[in-house]
């Protein structure tokens, strides 16, 4: 067992973990943060995407011990004071989700993408940037619209 200290959504957690434990299961089963979902076993679907020190990672392919001393942000940690994050709001307003299973990962990937892209992404950029996140319900059409809308909000807020 290894002792780790991880900041998750602004809160510090200390825990003993098996060295082989994946970050996603540490979050889901040790901390009870079940918002991050697991959809595959080959790092393909992206349902488990979250932010590790501000960068998007697939948490099924990160060991919990690799997150020692780092900051993790999950879907549970992006709204504040009952206000949805603009990306969450945009997904709702543009009907960018159906069953919702890929949605936490998709929203986290979209946040990472837009923050990296500086509010300037074309539809093509967004489509390529989301290549690692699979959705079987929406055909991506409304996800793209939501991200475009959220992006324009980011840039107008930043201006």
């Amino acid at each position: 067992m290894r002792r780790i200290s991880v900041n998750v959504n602004g809160k510090q957690h200390e825990a003993e973990v098996e060295p082989r434990q994946l970050l996603v299961y540490f979050l889901r089963e040790t901390l009870g943060l079940t918002g991050t979902n697991v959809g595959c076993d080959t790092t393909t679907c992206g349902a488990c995407t979250l932010l590790l020190d501000g960068k998007t990672v697939k948490s099924c392919t990160v060991l919990a011990v690799q997150a020692d001393g780092e900051q993790v942000t999950t879907i549970e940690g992006i709204s504040s004071d009952g206000e949805l994050h603009p990306m969450q709001q945009a997904f709702h307003e543009h009907h960018a989700l159906q069953c919702g299973y890929c949605t936490p990962g998709m929203i986290m990937a979209a946040i990472g993408l837009v923050e990296e892209g500086g509010g300037d992404l074309s539809e093509r950029d967004i489509r390529l940037g989301l290549e690692g996140n699979l959705c079987r319900c929406t055909g991506y059409h409304n996800i793209i619209k939501a991200i475009e809308a959220a992006q324009s909000q980011y840039s107008s807020a930043g201006a």
Partner: protein, 792 residues
Amino acid sequence: MTQTEERAQRYVGGGLLRKEDPELITGQASYVDDITIPGMLWVGVVRSPIAHARLGGVEVAAARSMPGIVEAYSGADLASEWAGGLPCAWPVTEDIKMPTHWPVVQDKARYAGDAVAVVVGESRAQVKDAMEAVEVEYEPLDPVVTMEEALAEGATKVHDDFDDNETYVWKLANGEVDQTFADAEVTIAERYYHPRLIPNAIEPRGVVVAPIAAQGEYTLYTATQIPHILRTTLALTVNIPENKLRVIAPDVGGGFGSKLNVYAEEAICLALARKLGRPVKWIEERSENYLATIHGRDVIQEMELAATQEGKITGVRVKLTADMGAYLQLVTPGIPVLGAFLYAGVYDAQVYSFECVGVFTNKTPTDAYRGAGRPEATYAIERAIETLARKVGKDPVEIRRLNFIEPFDKPRPVAAGLEFDSGNYRAGFDKALDLADYDGLRAEQERRRNEGGVKQLGIGLSTYIEMCGLAPSQVLGSLRYGAGGWETATIRCHPTGKVTVITGTSPHGQGHVTTWSQITADALGVSPDDVEVLHGDTAVSPMGMDTYGSRSLSVGGTALYYAAEKIRNKVKKVAAHELEVSEEDLEWSEGKFQVRGAPDKAKSVPDIAFCLWHCHNLPPDTEPGLEETYVFDPPNFTYPSGAHVAVVEVDTETGLVELTKYVAVDDCGTQINPTIVEGQIHGGVAQGVAEGMFEEAIYDESGNLTTSHMGYYRVPSAAELPSFILDSTVTPSTTNPLGVKGIGEAGTIASPPAVVNAVIDALAPLGVTDIDMPTTPERVYNAIQSAKGASA
């Protein structure tokens, strides 16, 4: 917004934002894997890595002694748990071969993925470790991989109890078919193959069972589309009284037919919870899902058309060979039958025959996958009509216009023996061509052809008709399906003005809570925010037939419509009493009962719900409370239709196909929530385009699934797809008072032939007239080379 304005507003037809979303976008949803019960054990299923093998010893002792392991079982150890095998509810013919399908096999493994042993332990990881320690002696047998192999003389048998691998032969014929073909001026005969597909709901399956051992009671949480059907069938398989079994479908992460089944793991977890007296949990891994969850399609089609010299279709004759896989799952044999009546599409044929041969192979069982039988039918007729067009020298638009069934608004019989509910096929087709700028596209195509560049443009058309809203129970009976096709709705009006709606359908992404709230709000004059919709729990909705076959709205929504009518009838009686007028003096206006000519004298549904709660002054013979249930059994199917246009760019040097434009004009009758309707089409089109261009489950000659995980099977991402251009026509259904037809499967049904026709169209000048799905670069490249070879 004032109160009056809000009440005057109609919610049906508006794009109300989904009430389901808040928990889903904040990580507060509860999928099966999110459920933990104190004392819960993990279950792992050991699967045969060999497609066909006799089992020697299955040794579980070593696994049992591993850290954290509570028990390990072979198939023989669990044999006494089953009162019967896993159910197949659709024996399509009287003499169908119905193999017994044990949850854990004892004698033979019949596909790579068949369950051979079970391990139960304290943690996910410990179970995974111990599964490696189960030792199974496999004596490999010849695998039967392809349908051709399975049907060959002297083929190895998948099931020793039967004479051969032919599961059934199902036939349908109307009119003098052979004579029509013999006399026809023009005939065409084509052979198509529908690849085997893996559904890939992003949530894999999962099961949690919580027992109350002392009472013999069990709560089964499962990622399913069919909690009600599951309760009835599992009660029989595992021998638990149905009224002691509660099935809950919590938040379910997509289904597409793959969760419309009764699976071994559901039976296994129930049996283990009973045997051990402890809660158990099994969560499917994705690679496991590729083996253990049903596949779709895998059908060979021989499609023939008879026509006049002009190109008018007179007859359709089709023969299918359909791969069942190793066992018959819940509705495996019936899937081709769901398409059997639709091989003439929206065209006006006079005679019709259909035959399907089902075949056992040593592969994962097939069953319902989004569209189920209807994508197959649509693909065949939409490919065939293009061949006919080439043969009679017409273009793809002209040939369709020549053959469309004329618009109709009353049920109309068709050659296959059904009565279509209503339709205007030409209108949608014309709209789709306009939206796509068809003439402009043809001009651009001509320009590129003249320039002779590498990237050629292809334009593909597709029209479709579905048979949805499953279904009239009597018709299901005549097709030998084991259950009915009705659906229920209950409306409970609380004294505080709030309303609870209970539906027997079981959504998994389709937005029923929102749609049902809209219908209820308009019918009862309340706000959608005051309506709570409950579903997916057999303790809450005791009767239901669940969600599949685009049935929820047309059957379950209609039940809701009639339940609301019953509520209004009771409210009217009490309102008249309260207002001291006769019922005839009341009219339903602005969401309440008003005295005719004196609109300020009025009672709302919430007003009367309160009266029916305190019951201080009710009219004689009035039962207290305001709650009504309606069970609707539809008189007919519904028949959504539409026209799609796909535009592709084909690189003639590499074979790479890019979808550059996609237009869909669908007619699902009346739309309750157009935003949700569009979302269903987007997702359906993406799935059908994937079928046409990317996806195929491939087995090697030993029966190993070589597309064995998500990295090898090409579920498209956003990068492979364009945005879609959508519009609709509205031809209300005559089957139900809402006029709705269903939209869950339309996109998947229409799109495969649209993209394949587009690829063939792009390559037509090179002489390519046929290409199988999916249109991978390799396949397109080879088609180009062989066409060049043929013309050289």
